[in-house]
Amino acid sequence: MNSPNASGWKPEMTRAEGSAPATVTGNRALMLEEPLLFEIGQAGVTGVDLPPVDAAAACRLGAMKRAGIIDLPGLSEPETVRHYTRLSRQNYGIDMGLFPLGSCTMKHNPRLNEKVARMAGFADLHPLQPQDTVRGALEVINQLAFWLLELTGMHGVAMTPKAGAHGELCGILCIRAALEARGDAREVVLVPESAHGTNPATAAFAGYRVENIPANSAGRVDLAALKARLGPDVAAVMITNPNTCGLFERDMMAISDAVHAAGAFVYCDGANFNAIVGKVRPGDLGVDAMHINLHKTFSTPHGGGGPGSGPVVLSEALSPFGPLPFTARDRDGVVHLVEEESADEFGHTQAFGRMAAFHGQMGMFTRALAYILSHGADGLKQVAEDAVLNANYVLRSLEDVLDAPFAASGPCMHEALLGDAGFGGGLSTLDLAKSLIDEGYHPMTMYFPLVVHGAMLIEPTETESKAGLDQFIVAMRGLAARAKAGDESMKHAPYHAPRRRLDETLAARKPVLCWEPGRSDL
């Protein structure tokens, strides 16, 4: 044998022992620390090839001409790709696993939708092109509007609102316009105490005074209390159905009847429409206005906090007051954009105004339409059924180990509501949620709705498999047992995330909202 191991590389498997030593860089293999852009970027660097500025070139900027350049660092393309790729890896997304945020409907985002939204015939259109050059785009808006009306059994739809809360505002403004048109000045909007915060904020923004209506012991609107409060000063009642406890408002039709009898309108927060899409039509429940979050029920991506899209479907009584612009098909089947100047021609003379520049979230419309066409009427019904089945499966698999305040009252809809009663050692929902992060899951919605102590609102959605749910249930049962036993270590979770618990008190007491040079750290 000559020179048995010239390279010196001697394969030998050893057993792992001891804890990992700290690294020089602070990185942990695939988990890379990433400095701020302002710490790595340099003035003078740019990742876009453009001709240098010619100081002698003609200038028609006038007196406002800038003297120097804006103090913004630049990165080359490879540095840019790395910066954002590294940042992305510190995020959790639906693509990685279950994202059971109650009332947020974090379902799979089909990639076909991304592909169609990027077709040049949609993505590369200017909103003010002559209508004859954008008939296909107007057709998309109109087709989506048609489906939304069919799915909700309503009379009209305003497509321009840019997110759910914007849609709420649109609906409430329609109500206000309708009341004003009949000379009926009303001042109060009633909101259940379990409502999303956007409801009271919206009503206040539209100039109304907000009053709460209580819930009953079954987690639903107290019909008697509501009826007692209705009167000539009430403009509208804002109801979420299915509600924020994940329950269907059994008395919805009686509520609508009572509200209408009192001369008021029913606004329905459609955030939870995923539970009933294709199964129940809000129009059949007496609803006058409801926004639809295309970024929930119709799968357009949440994108780390938007963009959303919040079309509002309207009853016959409210439709005449819907905002401009909107699309309408003429007798020849051609779809038109109806704006301020053509409103009369299309018989829409009472619009309350305009919600935003241009015509709505087109990029979301193409995605939502692709989603709807993919499912069809049968698939959408199946969406609601599977979403509700998944939530009930989670509820019944956890109710013996976690407080489930409304489980006894019957099935839930698309989300399961649990509480932290029975946790030991001063532990609460936050500790369980942070421990869930270590198990590889995004936590559920926590401490909402307020009607349950330490609320945990779990919405699995229909795009989770049974095997995936079974794994989640095992994780939850394990954490429930530790929480009940008062496992102190849960107070310091998460241990394995890119960051440990963050000091939100410090952030709020001494706000640092903008990077400044020289202030290297807190």
Binding site: Y447, E504, T505, A507, A508, R509
Partner: protein, 123 residues
């Protein structure tokens, strides 16, 4: 000097024609870390039981009500820089504002120290 308490967890200490107002130790313990206090400007008229100040934690904002009617004469400027005083010294250095006493009879319905202690024990 006599100190009184409301069932909304404000305290008020009366010294002649003026009074000092704050929130109780129980209230601060329920709120958690205080991050911001919004105080009424001097000269503001406040009415018994109506909004007078706002106290914020990271996850909640609570209205603080005026225990009695009167005019605000001074806010506690120290809270601007150090809202944590409300946590560390709620019934002393963490006071909110000083005010005139418009009507002494409004003090009659309030609790004394023992009464408030019993009230909190039952919550």
């Amino acid at each position: 000097m006599p100190r009184y308490f409301t069932d909304e967890h404000e305290w008020i200490e009366v010294d002649g024609d003026t009074a000092t107002v704050g929130i109780t130790d129980y209230a601060q313990s329920q709120l958690g870390d205080i991050v911001f206090v919004e105080l009424p400007a001097s000269g503001t008229m406040v009415a018994k039981g109506k909004d007078a100040a706002v106290v914020e934690s990271v996850k909640a904002a609570s209205d603080v009500y005026a225990p009695i009617t009167g005019e605000v004469t001074e806010g506690n400027g120290a809270l601007e820089d150090d809202p944590a005083l409300v946590n560390t010294s709620p019934e002393d250095g963490g006071w909110f504002f000083r005010m005139t006493v418009a009507d002494r009879s409004e003090l009659e319905g309030l609790m004394d120290t023992a009464g408030y202690k019993a009230f909190v024990a039952n919550l």
